[in-house]
């Protein structure tokens, strides 16, 4: 459903993403992990059509993003890490507008908007301006927008930031249901517990390159200890040791 082939992005002499190839089939939740600055967001933005790859291809639902951008994007839902929402629109207006961009129009759109607002527990805020929303509410509103047009693939960049435990549980449940209905989800996250709990497979990116890929069990095996928590596996694979110096500095 989502596939990238040898995706490269360079900024001058700096290579942010270096030959990333991913494949997320329908119904899979694919975790995309890596330390800060590893290239997760750059990769996701290239798949979303916000950044032009220096080289490589992105295929969404069988459509090449470069050749058929509208068809590819029509199948995609995108939840960015720092979402933009028109502050002076109400939640309902924003969703209707967003739906229109994806061709969701006509008499049924009102019902669909209310369905999504209800699902993400925002019904009573439908007629309130977005500027009065908390960060978590804005995050949920963006998720409403991303799922409104029934996408076949969803890109999520740091979904749990700013969400309270109830919100986080809701989002996990929604993602699981969506995946069970055949939606492919590519999710970047720093919350390793979430990745461990939800993802069918995980790719770990470091300095722009995929260094490991597989199920949680596969990653444990790669790290050399089948009983490790994902945090320990992650640190071993990405070289995140060196904590012994803290005592000296503190």
């Amino acid at each position: 459903m989502i596939a990238t082939h040898d995706l490269v992005k360079t900024y001058g002499s700096f290579t942010a993403v270096d030959g990333v190839s991913l494949e997320v089939p329908a119904g899979e939740i694919h975790g995309f992990l890596g330390p800060n600055g590893a290239g997760k967001t750059t990769t996701i933005r290239m798949i979303a059509g916000l950044l032009k790859p220096t080289s490589g291809r992105v295929i969404v639902n069988g459509h090449d993003l470069a050749g058929q951008p509208e068809r590819a994007k029509a199948s995609l839902g995108f939840i960015p890490d720092r979402p933009f929402i028109y502050e002076k629109l109400t939640a309902g207006e924003f969703l209707r507008f967003h739906g229109g961009l994806y061709g969701v129009d006509g008499p049924g759109v009102g019902d669909r908007v209310r369905e999504m607002l209800e699902l993400f527990e925002l019904t009573k805020w439908e007629d309130e301006l977005v500027e009065s929303f908390s960060h978590g509410m804005k995050q949920r509103l963006v998720m409403c927008a991303a799922f409104l047009h029934r996408p076949q693939a969803v890109l999520v960049d740091e979904p749990m930031v700013g969400l309270d435990p109830r919100g986080a549980r809701l989002i996990k449940e929604v993602f699981r249901r969506m995946a069970s209905r055949g939606v492919a989800i590519l999710m970047s996250t720093h919350t390793l517990e979430v990745a461990q709990e939800m993802c069918d497979r995980i790719s770990i990116i470091l300095k722009g390159k995929i260094i490991a890929r597989g199920t949680v069990a596969d990653l444990r095996a790669m790290a050399g200890d089948p009983n490790d928590q994902l945090t320990a596996v992650f640190l071993k694979l990405t070289g995140g040791g060196g904590l012994q110096e803290i005592d000296e500095i503190v």
Partner: protein, 558 residues
């Protein structure tokens, strides 16, 4: 079924409607103030245009000729303004606007996105020109008893006339963003600002309007008209627009130039649209790169600050504010534009030869000295609202650092005050002293004006700093938004009143003094007391405004 491109403009329309329905504090005051000023300006433009067109009617063919050249000049000025404005606006609407991330992720055809964004760029770039032109053309039309069709033709002329330079500006932005690294986009903008300001100065120098004041140079009047006409080339859309309107004003039709306007405008939209479909994504993608910090090595600034007799806290606040200002090109470009306008203003005084006005030159000069003081006051108020008032708000989301640090709010605000005072005082003092020197005003007035500027600077900067702390807008995207907020408007109202009161309190005793001095009449004790009281009142008003502003600000922060 894809929505037509105007659908993409819906958020702006809905947002405007929501703003109107859900008024915030100060919205009404702002609307009344801006509406009132706009109405006054429109009436003034209408009256001036009507009067000039009416007077020119008395000079038969010469009047027609001057009107024709005047229209071409007017459109030529707007052409350059619109092209520059198009470049600046397109950079924002096509590349830097936040909602582009939302729209580009959606399945929207490139040509639809271009048309929607271009319409937005056109509206943002040209509304000021249209607002200016509407009363002007109405005034000309009514004065010359133009047929009704003139107004229709005017509308149909302004539209393509605006499209052409904005499309060219948009194309220039596309080239710039693709050719240069995107992080330099704002640097380029600053360069454009400088070029635009320089072009204004050159333009003014080119026509040398001061020659009209020289009676003995009247035989050169034909050379003057030749100079006026020389930049009006038939190849520019400004000429086409002027000719179309002039023909229509006299009840005729100039289909050639009208056709040239529309065909060029439509052709440009098609060509620039195609270029955008091809190169916009690459340019937008570049624009996502982090901007490189400018002036990253400012060791000289650090060293200079260390020599100042300041506490550690104040020194670090000063360094931080200066570095942030130097790295924000939008601040710089506006300040440079203002400096360029100041140069034009001073240049006018240099070439204004008032000695040639018989008998009155002394009085005119001294009146000018007060006009100049008033102008300096308004310049100070404008600079203060744009650069000093947002001082506290500019801390933005980082204000928690100041709040949680062991710094008193009094220290913090006074630091903001001094940082604002030095440039404002220097700027306005140079403006006033230089203008008075160039005019050759009475030495007494030179001293009064120079001292008055010191007091006015303290008062206006104190008011701006204090009210900026009283009405902060930490969530604002830029300083202009803060300046346009309720607090900013309130400051401008108070500042204008303050300047007017000060000018009145200084003007009356100065005129009495000069009157007695010119006629060599000694001032009696009563008059001297009245003069002293008036100057004391002006001093008191300044000190009170300064004290009130800072006290309000410190209290609000505490």
């Amino acid at each position: 079924m894809p929505q037509p491109f105007p659908y993409l403009l819906l958020p702006s329309i809905w947002a405007s409607r929501n703003r109107a329905h859900r008024r915030e504090r100060g919205d009404l005051l702002r609307a009344l103030l801006f509406g009132g000023i706009a109405a006054l300006v429109a009436v003034a433009i209408f009256v001036a245009a009507f009067w000039i067109a009416w007077q020119l009617a008395d000079y038969a063919e010469l009047g027609d000729y001057l009107l024709r050249i005047g229209l071409s000049w007017l459109f030529l000025s707007f052409l350059s303004f619109l092209a520059f404005s198009g470049v600046v606006t397109a950079l924002s609407t096509f590349f830097l606007s936040d909602d582009m991330r939302l729209l580009l992720a959606a399945p929207i055809a490139a040509h639809r996105l271009f048309h929607a964004r271009f319409l937005r760029t056109l509206a943002h770039s040209s509304w000021m020109v249209i607002v200016f032109l509407a009363p002007l053309l109405l005034g000309i039309g009514l004065a010359r008893c133009a047929p009704l069709s003139f107004y229709g033709v005017a509308l149909l002329t302004i539209v393509p006339f605006s499209i052409i330079p904005v499309a060219l500006g948009t194309a220039a932005t596309l080239v710039l963003v693709n050719v240069f690294p995107a992080r330099r986009a704002r640097d380029i903008l600053m360069l454009m600002g400088l070029l635009f300001a320089a072009s204004i100065v050159i333009l003014l120098r080119y026509i040398r309007p001061e020659r009209l004041l020289r009676v003995e140079s009247l035989p050169d009047i034909t050379a003057f008209f030749a100079t006026l006409q020389s930049p009006v080339t038939p190849l520019l859309p400004s000429f086409w627009a002027g000719e179309t309107l002039f023909a229509s004003l006299r009840g005729g039709r100039d289909l050639l130039h009208f056709g040239a306007l529309w065909t060029t405008a439509l052709m440009l939209v098609v060509v620039v649209g195609a270029a955008y479909e091809r190169w916009h994504f690459a340019g937008f993608s570049n624009a996502q790169e982090a901007r490189k910090a400018r002036f990253t090595r400012l060791h000289a600034l650090d060293r200079a600050a260390e020599r100042l007799p300041l506490s550690t806290v104040r020194r670090h606040l000063l360094i931080k504010d200066l570095k942030m200002f130097l790295r924000d090109v939008s601040q710089w470009s506006q300040l440079l534009l203002l400096l360029a306008l100041m140069l034009v203003y001073l240049y006018n005084f240099r070439v204004l030869d008032l000695e040639r006005i018989p008998y009155m030159s002394g009085i005119v000069k001294n009146v000018y000295a007060f006009v100049n003081l008033g102008m300096a006051g308004f310049v100070m108020a404008t600079v203060a609202v744009r650069f000093v008032f947002p001082g506290v708000s500019s801390e933005g989301a980082a204000f928690w650092i100041i709040r949680s640090a062991p710094i008193s709010m009094r220290d913090f605000l006074w630091s903001k005050f001094w940082i604002g005072l030095v440039p404002v005082l220097l700027l306005s003092e140079v403006l006033t002293v230089a203008a008075n020197e160039l005019l050759g005003v009475d030495p007494f007035l030179k001293v009064v004006a120079a001292i008055a500027i010191v007091f006015m600077s303290f008062a206006l900067v104190g008011l701006a700093t204090g009210l900026g702390a009283r009405y902060p807008r930490f969530a604002a995207d830029n300083a202009s938004q803060v300046a346009g907020s309720f607090g900013g408007i309130a400051f401008m109202v108070i500042a204008v009143l303050f300047v007017l009161v000060t000018i009145a309190l200084l003007g009356w005793p100065s005129s009495v003094y000069l009157f007695h001095q010119t006629r060599r009449i000694p001032l009696d004790g009563m008059r001297q007391a009245q003069i002293a009281a008036s100057f004391a009142a002006a001093t008191f008003v300044s000190l009170a405004a300064w004290w009130f502003g800072m006290r309000t600000g410190v209290r609000a922060l505490e």
